[in-house]
Amino acid sequence: MTNPMNNLLNAPEAILVLKMADDKLFLGHMQSDWTGLGPILEEDIASSSMAQDDLSHALVLYEYLGNRFGLDPDVIAYEREPGQYLCCDLVTVPDEFNWATSLVRRWLFTHYAAPVLDQLALFEDKELVERARKLRAEEALHVEYLDDWMRRLGSGSDEARDRIQKAIDLLSTHAGMLFELPGRDLEPDDSFCCSRSELFKEWDTNTSSVLEQAGLMMQVELPDLKTIGGRNGVHADHFAAAHAEMGTVRSADPGAAW
């Protein structure tokens, strides 16, 4: 008897969608911690709105996978083992309520998400293409918004520049693993590797352009293919903490309708 979850986790195209959905689920969850605590009221509202975008983008992608594999989107989101989540380390790095860290975490990710959504919009599956196009248009808002803040803080006071540079230094060590390939146990598939270096190049060009305008520095190298991390279910401790917390309500009464 086939298991729909195993089918999903062993379908090369599906896990390319799943890694984006998992990234957005955890990033949205982490950023939601700031609701009510933003540095100023409007920034609080805006960042909460964009965190909600990330969570609902995850839902849009889980729904697609659910339709394709006969699974409830909530089951895909909440009822996998930790090793079956494919998000990168960056999205669950704790920001310790440092606004600069939370901002840079989103900024590094959104420049990755935009071209990946472009790629998903080129797939043959019409339903996926339609969903990816909608999300891509909204991701552009995140890119524009976060780029603006990076420029403002980089060209602001000494303290602002120092804080944002420290956040870049902290998070850039995780950024290369955005590009880790998922599904090492699967049969080799062209869709996994043909665009990894091009994707990194695009990300590097776009982030470098903003950093130059902001007067900030960042060094990120593409890790070699042997380096294994979150995209293959090998997660850091901070993922385990975020995963446990995110599933608290769901696991309190498994199978209940909410």
Partner: protein, 202 residues
């Protein structure tokens, strides 16, 4: 708040001393559909009008479906006093070389201000007078704002998200709650409870 973040974290010595930052107060109008008038949505604080535009998109632009946003610094608007009697105004012909003023009116006291059109005249007094004459009939207040002081979202910019946003809407939520409440009220239990309740308390 996340339990993860409560572990060993403290705000002590974390925040810098307050600075005398300059914050502007911006008035926001949203347009629900293409061709519809812009209607007052609210106001917000921001460091400048560019940031205010972004904030307006994430704040008032997410209250309900919206295709365009206008905003201006609140010091740029000029208004008549609120009046229940006809406002005095004298029309001045538009001058193609003069500044353009957006006109907003309030129909009853407490109503929101709605875009009515524009006048093209030399100064704020002439603008208010012309706006009253052309758009102020039966209105309690008329407001004019120089168009060149106003910011607008770009044409075709995505404001209201295009994927299903029904869950964000209060009306969607209340519909669902009403359905559950109606179902609940139809059960005999609630009628029995109500009888007991009346018997015991009244």
């Amino acid at each position: 708040m996340s339990k993860i973040r409560e572990q060993g974290f403290t705000f002590a010595d974390e925040l810098p001393p307050a600075t005398d930052s300059v914050v502007g107060h911006y008035v926001v109008y949203t347009q629900k559909k293409e061709g519809a008038p812009h209607r007052y949505a609210g106001w917000l604080n921001a460091p400048d009008i560019d940031m205010a535009t972004k904030y307006a998109c994430e704040h008032y632009g997410q209250d309900e479906s919206c295709v365009n946003i206008w905003l201006h610094d609140r010091t740029q608007m000029h208004e008549t006093p609120v009046s229940d009697t006809p406002l005095p105004g004298e029309d001045t012909p538009d001058d193609p070389g003069a500044p353009t003023w957006a006109v907003f009116t309030q129909k009853r006291r407490g109503d929101i201000h709605v875009e009515q059109g524009h006048v093209q005249v030399a100064d704020q007094e002439a603008a208010l007078s012309a706006a009253i004459s052309r758009f102020g009939m039966d209105m309690t207040q008329v407001r004019v704002v120089p168009r060149d002081s106003m910011a607008s979202t770009e044409v075709d910019r995505v404001i209201w998200r295009t994927h299903d946003q029904g869950y964000r809407l209060a009306k969607g939520y209340s519909k669902s709650v009403r359905a559950k409440w109606d179902a609940f009220r139809k059960t005999e239990d609630i009628e029995e409870y109500r009888k007991d309740d009346i018997e015991n308390h009244f």
